[in-house]
Amino acid sequence: MGTAVMADGSSGTHQLVGRARAGDPAALGDLFARHRDRLRRMVDLRLDRRVRGRVDPSDVLQDGFADAAGKLPDYLADPRLPAFLWLRLVVGERLAKVHRTHLGTQMRDAALEVSLYRAPLPAASSAALAAQLLGKHTSPTEAAVRAEQMLRVQEAVNALDPIDREIIALRNFEELSRAEAAQALGIEEAAAAKRYVRAIKRLKDALGG
């Protein structure tokens, strides 16, 4: 499902822009619904674990939707990004705000990682990647069944440097397309391709395969 949308991200954008300009109040909601799974994964991946007890990813998503509704007129006036990436950016900004509110000065280490982005999205932490691999509601018994394979991948991903980890987070965990990942990082597609293939090779080495 997501892939077809990804590969054809621009038609979604045209549709949204067309419908929203025509005054269809449901256009944004439909777009949000279509990409909710991927946006949710993004939040799960990037919500700082120190904030997790206090902030629910669902709330971040819902507040992000409210932000998007407020920012829609500006976006429609000048839609530079495909609609999905714009939504992802708005939700990411909301996430950064949540981190600032709750972490304040403890943000230093995260701030360093933010410089990797053109967009102010908090970096995908290795802890969050691990949590994604293990699944939120998986019981200890079920986790144990596949623990070996998952833990191997987890260790390997964590052993990578943040740049490699990030491109893998975008492509394999957020499931962004090549074009989307390049745009999210603010680099050329060719550069993103090279970065991804090299990251996967280093991951392969880390997996010891």
Binding site: G2, T3, D24, P25, A26, G29, D30, F32, R36, R40, G53, D56, P57, S58, L61, Q62, F65, A66, A69, Q132, L133, L134, G135, H137, T138, S139, E142, A143, V145, R146, Q149, M150, R152, V153, Q154, V157, I168, R171, N172, F173, E175, S177, R178, E189, A190, A192, A193, K194, Y196, V197, I200, K201, L203, K204, L207, G209
Partner: protein, 221 residues
């Protein structure tokens, strides 16, 4: 390694990995060998890269495959004052039952926190918060909450029982009405809950609990 940093090789490799990822996510298990035969010049690279991404995607997959079966209905047919009649629906967080409140002799909807989440303090708080938030809202399109309680450590809350079909049915049945109509239906309700968009709660994959329900006529009740 692609010869002499050839960006064309990286580009093609990247496209192939993307295709491989997509196929994997669709449930296929594409063979690395097939790719190597088709692109012999890149065979060495493909043998490095594809098994590695397959491992990552496979590890991700474990989440879905290992999900526990949907929770069985609670063994008790009685929860305090409530006599459970049937399951109406379930979501990620709870199961909704049609029940009879014995003392008052009335039909109610009982939303019970899923067994699986009982020991999760965060989810319990969230469940209670959901009940409190819903109880604060007063609108014809929002199901009123009558009460909140616990039975043998299982939290539940009580809502008016409303006949009709779930919003999910309406949304999934474009033949009956345009999908956007469902969003329009709940916009008056949205204005009642601050600036929150009226939106199926992101925690619920299919909003089957009858907090927002629509009568057979398609009108909200």
């Amino acid at each position: 390694m692609p010869g002499q940093d050839s960006s064309r090789d990286y580009d093609l490799l990247d496209r192939l990995v993307e295709e491989f990822n997509d196929r994997f996510r669709r449930g296929e298990r594409p063979s690395v060998h097939e790719y190597c035969e088709k692109y012999p010049a890149l065979a060495d690279d493909l043998r490095d890269v594809l098994p590695a991404v397959a491992q990552v995607e496979g590890a991700k997959d474990a989440r879905a495959d290992d999900l526990p079966a949907p929770p069985p209905p609670p063994p008790v047919a009685q929860m305090g004052d409530f006599h459970i009649l049937r399951e109406v629906g379930h979501g990620g967080m709870g199961v909704v039952y049609e029940a009879e409140q014995v003392s008052l002799g009335r039909r109610v909807a009982l939303k019970v926190l899923t067994q699986r989440l009982l020991r999760d303090a965060k989810q319990r708080r969230r469940f209670e918060r959901e009940a409190r938030a819903a109880a604060k809202l007063h609108h014809t399109n929002i199901v009123p909450v009558h009460g909140y309680g616990e039975h043998d450590g299982t939290p539940y809350y009580v809502m008016q029982f409303i006949h009709g079909m779930g919003l999910d049915v309406v949304v999934e049945e474009p033949a009956r009405m345009a999908p956007t109509a469902a969003h329009r239906l709940c916009s008056p309700a949205a204005s009642n809950s601050h600036r929150r968009p009226c939106w199926p709660h992101p925690g619920q994959k299919t909003p089957r609990n009858p907090e927002t329900r629509v009568a057979h006529t398609g009108r909200p009740v």
